[in-house]
């Protein structure tokens, strides 16, 4: 029986990695066809780095890119900034664009569909 793997990645799994290592790990898994649900997602800067790396790897016959959906971070107040408190990234789902499709997204709900070709 064939299927698509959906891997739930804990915060502990990624927090010991540098941004580059996280992105490399995510892209390697996605290129293998895995779908990842990150307990704590990527920072906005890491997200743009991931998009950049993804674009450099797009190959029309093998890899068309990623589907990524996460919730907006809560806004950090000036007091929290002074205290160095930054709202962490929130739960995020990432997968190959030809296997993961977003059906609906709003501020409280993300619905996706896994396509098993």
């Amino acid at each position: 029986m064939t299927g698509v793997n959906v891997n739930l990645i804990s915060q502990q799994k990624l927090e010991g990695l540098s941004s580059q290592e996280k992105i490399q790990y995510i892209l390697t898994e996605i290129e293998k066809g895995e779908i990842l649900v990150l307990e704590k997602g990527l920072t906005p800067q890491e997200q743009t780095q991931l998009i950049e790396k993804t674009m450099s790897r797009v190959n029309p016959n093998k890899f068309i890119g990623i589907e990524m959906q996460g919730y907006m971070s809560e806004k950090t107040s000036w007091l929290q900034k002074i205290l160095g408190k930054i709202h962490p990234p929130r739960m995020t789902v990432i997968g190959p664009a030809d296997k993961l499709k977003t059906i609906h997204k709003d501020s409280t709900m993300i619905k996706t569909q896994v396509i098993n070709k």
Binding site: T43, P44, Q45, Q47, T48, I51, E52, T54, M55, S56, V58, P60, I64, G65, I66, E67, M68, Q69, G70, Y71, M72, S73, K75, A97, D98, K105, D106, S107
Partner: protein, 219 residues
Amino acid sequence: MGIFQKIKNISLAKKLRSIFGKKHVKIGIYGPPNVGKTTLANRIVRDWSGDTLGPASEIPHETRRAKTKENITVNDGGSSLTVDIIDTPGIATKIDYHDFLSYGLSEKKARRRAKEATEGVIEAIRWLENVDGVILLMDCTQNPFTQVNITIMGNLEARELPVVIAANKIDLDQSSPATLKSAFPQHDVIPISALTGYNIDMLYSTMVQRFHKRKRRAA
């Protein structure tokens, strides 16, 4: 007002500007593909210099290299701001050449367009390092909660770059600027039609006010 008072006021104005603002800024127009970035860039450039920046198209990723028009002076009636407008390629997380075939492109042209589009996305992201402010353009007939919108917004907030959200395509029946405003309540959201020019003066006024103050922290 006496001459000494005038000199004192000018000097004070200069000092305040050196602390709070800048009169010449680089403004990037950002957003996903096909939201009307080039149409807006052309309107701004045409309104204030009589020129245009580049062709717009219904085929996604028409703009695949960033285009800049320098020294556009935008005036809101009281204040003015000189801007370099950067029309950036649309940011996307996936690019499939098959999507272009439905617009009648040959496979060869579709593949080339896809390749250039990937390079355009990278260029647009890299331009974020060099802009002083951003007009984030969204299509108000579409769901605003896309990851591209969230990622761009997150980056702008992290870099503390001033941003104005322009809710484009207000001229279309299915537009819903209220949904967009509710998605980004902490930001200026200006409903516009880049195509017809509807409410464009409000955008210019907001640009002058918002981008005059330049506050930026390295990301």
